[in-house]
């Protein structure tokens, strides 16, 4: 079952229902920021409202078990797959630390730092430190530093 939900101006946390088995929530948001907030609130997928033609395909994909999000939020759905080490290395990249500094702080070799970052970049679908930083910090479409939170 796919619930298609228009978040409108409401806080996504107030309208996204508690997940139930066999129910997947697709949030339709006005813009990328709304989609990002809906995903953060627990929606399984998000799309930009108004694209009715594309919506059919999106609903079908979500119903088939795929995770979908606007291209502008590329990488957002991969956040949960980042390991603790990948998050730590990425968090230091965002602050401008070099691989050597990251390795010294985390007590790992530079080669291992590169390995963690390569893996994180692959999961987030970015190709460089610059792209990774933009993906997280961009005020318009950035995923936010919350994706680096360690529980």
């Amino acid at each position: 079952v796919v619930i298609v939900l228009r978040t409108d101006g409401a806080r996504p946390a107030d309208v996204v229902p508690v997940p139930a088995p066999h129910v997947r929530v697709l949030a339709l948001a006005a813009d990328a920021a709304g989609a990002r907030a809906a995903l953060a609130a627990g929606a399984h997928s998000a799309a930009i409202d108004g694209d009715d033609e594309g919506l059919v395909a999106v609903v079908a994909a979500v119903g088939a078990g795929y995770a979908v999000s606007p291209e502008s939020l590329r990488g957002r759905l991969s956040q949960g797959l980042l390991t603790t080490r990948e998050k730590q290395a990425l968090a230091m990249v965002v602050m401008g630390f070099s691989n050597r500094e990251i390795g010294t702080t985390l007590h790992i070799t530079e080669t291992t730092v590169k390995s963690h970052l390569s893996s994180a970049f692959r999961k987030l679908h970015v190709r460089s430190r610059h792209e990774a930083t933009a993906l997280i910090l961009d005020p318009e479409s950035g995923a936010g530093t919350g994706i680096l939170a360690i529980s």
């Binding site: 730590q88 968090a91 230091m92 602050m95 939170a149």
Partner: protein, 102 residues
């Protein structure tokens, strides 16, 4: 919490940055990262300077003295502010107090 902070204020020791914390100063902000939680904390220039002094001098008293010299304010007044700020950093796990001469 206030009782714990009172105890903290009286506790002799040296201030230091925990191993799981890194910080970097930018033009208008100092960003502190707790690697255990993955959370960033932003400090204004004054807060950033206090953190820097706490790390450099490892002492609340010396940090307050240096800050008083830099700002032209009374050291007693500044010491209370530095102590309160340091307490807050300690509660957030961004600074720790290790045993040693005060």
């Amino acid at each position: 919490v206030s009782a714990a902070l009172d105890t903290l204020a009286r506790m002799p020791g040296r201030t230091r940055l925990p191993d799981h914390v890194v910080y970097r100063s930018f033009v208008n902000e100092t960003v502190v990262l707790n690697l255990q939680t993955g959370r960033y904390h932003g400090l204004n220039p004054t807060g950033g300077r206090i953190l820097q002094l706490l790390v450099e001098t490892a002492s609340i008293d010396e940090s307050a003295a240096r800050l008083a010299q830099e700002s032209g304010r009374g050291v007693d007044e500044i010491r209370a502010d530095v102590q309160a700020f340091c307490d807050d950093l300690v509660v957030r796990g961004l600074v720790e107090i290790v045993p040693g001469d005060d």
